[in-house]
């Protein structure tokens, strides 16, 4: 996917709220999905992954949901904290092309 640069989608939440970040992927052949968190000046940090034979996976304070029918992925963050403020990217693994394709990114802003 291509980011729209300065028009990066932004989600603003209050500390303690639950956050839901959505992502659409385009290739029905994708069979592995990852969420990354990128803080300013740093590289993307692995959060959680899910394979296409699952529709839900939980981690610590995070849950990823996969809907293959509509090619949609979401990341849920429980009890969002100011330290969760970052840009979040979904990525899907393109079987046959052997590369990870990144989505546009969503900026999460958490206010105290």
């Amino acid at each position: 996917g291509e980011s729209v640069g300065l028009h990066l989608p932004t989600l603003s939440v209050q500390e303690g709220d639950n956050s839901i970040i959505n992502c659409a992927y385009s290739n029905s052949a994708s069979d592995y999905f990852i969420w990354y968190k990128q803080e300013s000046g740093k590289g993307p940090q692995f959060i959680i992954d899910i394979r296409s034979n699952m529709d839900k996976r939980q981690g610590q304070r995070v849950t990823v949901l996969l809907n293959k029918t509509v090619k949609h992925l979401s990341l849920q963050i429980a009890a969002t904290q100011p330290g969760d403020s970052a840009v979040y990217f979904c990525a899907d693994y393109l079987t046959g092309f052997q590369k990870l394709v990144f989505g546009t990114g969503t900026r999460l802003l958490v206010s105290p």
Binding site: S3, G5, Y32, Q45, F46, D49, R51, F102
Partner: protein, 114 residues
């Protein structure tokens, strides 16, 4: 365990020059990936190396090249630099290539072309 390390952190070059960026993967990882992230934009796949061989490349001109050494470290070379090459270049590594193995990223090299 040390993560993916990249050097230099910042690099300033002038148009037409060549740039060399270096990456050391996590110990035990054999696959190395390079991505370009222009300011405020998403990550664009550049190159993938595994076991010393180039396995795939993204939609970039041939002046973007690289290699992987026997110790699995890698370097990215960009020849005939253009202003639009200014970006954060991210290296990632993973266990043997394939589905189900997450990429782990370094903090990147910020290349500025003037």
């Amino acid at each position: 365990e040390a993560g993916v390390t990249q050097s230099p952190t910042h690099l300033i070059k002038t148009r037409g020059q060549q740039a060399t960026l270096r990456c050391s993967p996590i110990s035990g990882h054999t696959s190395v990936y390079w991505y370009q992230q222009a300011l405020g934009l998403g990550l664009q796949f550049l190159l993938w190396y595994d076991e010393g061989e180039e396995r795939n490349r993204g939609n970039f001109p041939p002046r973007f090249s690289g290699r992987q050494f026997p110790n699995y470290s890698s370097e990215l070379n960009v020849n005939a630099l253009e202003l639009e090459d200014s970006a954060l270049y991210l290296c990632a590594s993973s266990l043997a290539a394939g589905q189900g193995k997450p990429l782990h990223f370094g903090n990147g090299t910020r290349l500025t072309v003037t």
